[in-house]
Subunit: 320 residues, 4 copies
């Protein structure tokens, strides 16, 4: 029975992690904290009533480190930068759900997240926690950079094509739509019910911080430089991401050939990212639809999957 801490329990990802872990037979959540909320967790999250007796306190790293073997950091970016080195130093494994350790270059981090990366040492050694691609590295990792929600849906949908047919790909456009929980749980007029309801809008057009994350790992998968055009939109639903992905090739493919490529890549199937395929009559444009739950496969569920791999549990424990 390993001991788990969740830092940032008042957010959606933190709460979802607790919800999943409360049914996990191999772990026990022994510590939870939040920055601006304290008290019994089932008062903060009534839907968790009966699943937890934990009390949320303001973070005390020393105490947290003493009580935990592994922590989930469900905190805003830049906050992870200050917590991660201290947990690692205390011998606690870290799964970071923020964007702080995903881009491997400090200058890219500065460009997209707007502040200097203060922990370059661990930035270099963090493992990108996309199990379908990096399972072996995850097994040995002490620090996991849990992938962003948009990149998870994009990379799972694109990996089979770019890893095997990268040379024929001319361009990739990702038109992404996310439910409102993807924006996190914070007081903000822009996220108010009356602003998001009966509304739909594009934002950060061709300028979202998840685009370089997709480019980075897609290039690794393809073993050649890849660049996508990425446009996110805000959907009036609580949860879920759908990405409509347009791949233009300079070689014609039949739809059945593409189906084969995907089946071969995901031998056993990845049961939590639904991928659909279509192509135009010219045979040079493929449309992939990729759907995930942004809080499960796009955040807390993938974090639990990473934890399972790190600790040698069956990969799906606590997730079915």
């Amino acid at each position: 029975m390993i001991k788990i801490g969740i830092i940032g329990i008042s957010g959606y990802s933190g709460a979802t992690a607790l919800e999943l872990l409360s049914g996990h037979p191999e772990v026990r959540v022994t510590y939870v904290s939040a920055n601006n909320t304290t008290g019994k967790v089932d008062d903060i999250w009534p839907y968790l009533a009966g699943k937890t007796n934990l009390v949320c306190r303001k973070l005390d790293i020393k105490q947290a480190a003493a009580k935990c073997d592994l922590v989930f950091l469900a905190v805003p970016h830049t906050v992870s930068l200050t917590l991660t080195p201290r947990f690692l130093k205390a011998g606690v494994q870290v799964i970071d759900l923020s964007g702080d350790y995903r881009l491997n270059s400090p200058s890219q981090y500065k460009k997209w997240y707007g502040s200097v990366h203060s922990d370059v040492k661990h930035l270099k050694t963090a493992v990108y926690g996309l199990p379908e691609l990096y399972r072996e590295d995850i097994k040995k990792a002490r620090l996991i950079a849990n992938p962003g929600c948009y990149p998870t849906a994009a990379l799972l949908a694109l990996a089979p094509m770019v890893s095997t047919q990268g040379q024929w790909i001319e361009s990739i456009i990702i038109d992404a739509k996310s439910g409102v929980s993807g924006a996190g749980r914070k007081a903000s007029v822009a996220l108010n019910y009356c602003e998001a309801n009966e509304n739909f809008r594009a934002y950060k057009v061709l300028n979202h911080q998840h685009a370089p994350e997709i480019d980075l790992y897609l290039s690794k998968i393809a073993s050649r430089p890849m660049r996508v055009d990425f446009v996110p939109h805000l959907l009036p639903v609580n949860r879920g991401i759908l990405e409509t992905i347009y791949i233009k090739t300079n070689q014609k493919f039949g739809l059945s050939a593409i189906h084969q490529i995907y089946k071969r890549f995901y031998k056993t199937g990845t049961n939590r990212c639904k991928i659909g395929l279509a192509h135009n009559s010219n045979g040079n444009l493929f449309v992939i639809t990729s759907v995930i739950d942004n809080l499960i496969k796009g955040a807390a569920g993938q974090a639990v999957q990473n934890m399972n791999i790190m600790r040698g549990f069956k990969e799906t424990t606590g997730l079915l």
Copy 2:
């Protein structure tokens, strides 16, 4: 052409007032302000593009008073208390959309709004702006207390019965449901899309500040003390209020008799509050459903109606 100011243009009521007044042939909006937002109004509210060239500034009362004959105060309660005396002193008429001048007793104000009433002088002379009941007083008013959204729907639905059959009424229960815009436009986790969407909840059960407002004016209408039991709920829609009102009588009434009472009271009909009637087989319980748009008849529209009456315009100008 009279000159109008709107204080609090960044809220829903203020914006709706501007929307209505921009189509009003007898007035011109000459001044708008907000506390935390500045800039072109059609940048703040893109849906008003083409209807206004106004620029929003932080409030300067002196300037506002110089530019306006009448102001709409679409500000939180307690703020009106500080603005109203100064506008009145400068000779500017005031229509206050907050709750600051609705309860006629300072102690009741203290009890329900939690702070001392600092302008008792005007509290005593303010006119309650429910035109269907107080048209004559409104004509001569310099300060209007624009009714709350819940009381508007309740009083219009109840006035015919209590004014004519008050002696037979045993109890009144109001089960009220409001869209989220009724809570105003402010940064708050509780109002976030993900918290209000797919949700429905009762709040301030038997303890809402609109209950004493209903009691006060219902008692005046009935010429006897009346007390309602009032339970509000938050509906996952942007706009609208529906109140289901249960009147228990100790005298049996036929449904057609009740219909007669309502028709006679609202001779020409009140076209913006829809009232439905039903009764149980015993004939001693009536159910009234009362529906308004909380931002129009429940706030900005009623304010415009009051303005029309105060300035001698046709009552419906700008409202159809």
Copy 3:
């Protein structure tokens, strides 16, 4: 391992029953059917993918009876009337989710459901499946009338008061609000997204078929005639019921006394119906809020709970 059939798998209740039973260790679903839909169940309900390999066919009662020990009838009322006697005759236990066996008098059935009751024999022997009240009878039942969604929330909220303090109760008003799935899954303009979204309405005011169901069982609980005034409304959410219940007493109660009454009645708590309490300053009006998931405790979950009791399983198996 007992064998279960679900008749009406294309509706929300049928699908929810399958979802719950697919995780139940003591039973196996061996037969599913629907009237107008056929094919693989996970094509009809993609969210059940991975949980079932069943194929849905048009109902063949003989085949169903041969394959099942117990059937869930998730069909419209009047349809159950024709199926129930045939399943019972074949020795198959029946849990009927329709309204066909809830009212114990044929004339009441005729009045509220609009057609003659053709199976009076079983109407007399059916057991009302509200475990919190009729656990012992359910153990021995061959035919369960699974309670309506509104009555479930109402009876659980009212049972403690009426069973112990019935003599002081003067009147009960139930203002009920239900999500759209409560109306079933059928092609209907009135249930279209654009009609229900951003909308809220009362319907069948004081005239809903669940009112006599509530009256009947409330009277049994109270051992005296009880009659409620019941007004349902349609909420723009997928799932869930909230009932705001107003109990007027001719005796004053303190809130803590009421809390005691409820705690004593539900010794161990009923974990799937959330009940809140408030009272007015006179002490003679109590407001109870009662919340359930209409598809779980209000339909399929309660059916599974009844099945567990009938077959001697732990009552909560498959439900946590």
Copy 4:
């Protein structure tokens, strides 16, 4: 005062047309009909109360023709085919909101709408009612094919580029999202609240009947063959279309150059289609967002605009 008929008043487009025309000073609606609904129009559409006294009857073409100078056909496709020739023969002008007269080739119609075009004569002479492009033809038209909602947003967004820079365009991808009213008002489980709410899906991927309509008119505008890749999605909102359009060019453009192209094309601005622009750092991919109200500019409003042009009224009459 010209006399107008609306055929198909029970649908969203028909009702919106009546709503707009009820405020139009130059016309009077003299006849309305529907196929499956009859009775007072304000019973069918309570939100039109006070705006109309019309009674809806089953269509009688002879009577309709006698009472009207011009009719709006807000009926499903194929129905217009049978009505249009008869109205035209009776000397009544027709604005057809269905898809029946938009594609200029009978074989294309057969391919995309699934049935033989039975009125080829008028198919050849119908004028495509997109005023921004075909104002002069509309002035003289007797039969208008009112554009589809998706093509309206697409063509307005693309016309400036393709008409002036068509030679540099390599590919166009349209990722379109529509509110549910775009599917019309019909009884259908797929359109039920519970199916569309909290949901979002792609449909008819690369296979929607509006794609050839876009191709046809885009090719005319460009004076060269153009083909778009078009993927529509269903948004959980009542109204509105947002299209995210990706134009790949084999020539680099600066963003300000593109802005110039759009400003020059729409000299006075088109105030009911909001167009946004962005481009990638390579300068060879432009992203255009195009937003309309599908029931106004995408259907009934554009029909009124066409009527105004046909009858020589100011183009915006009844639309502001």
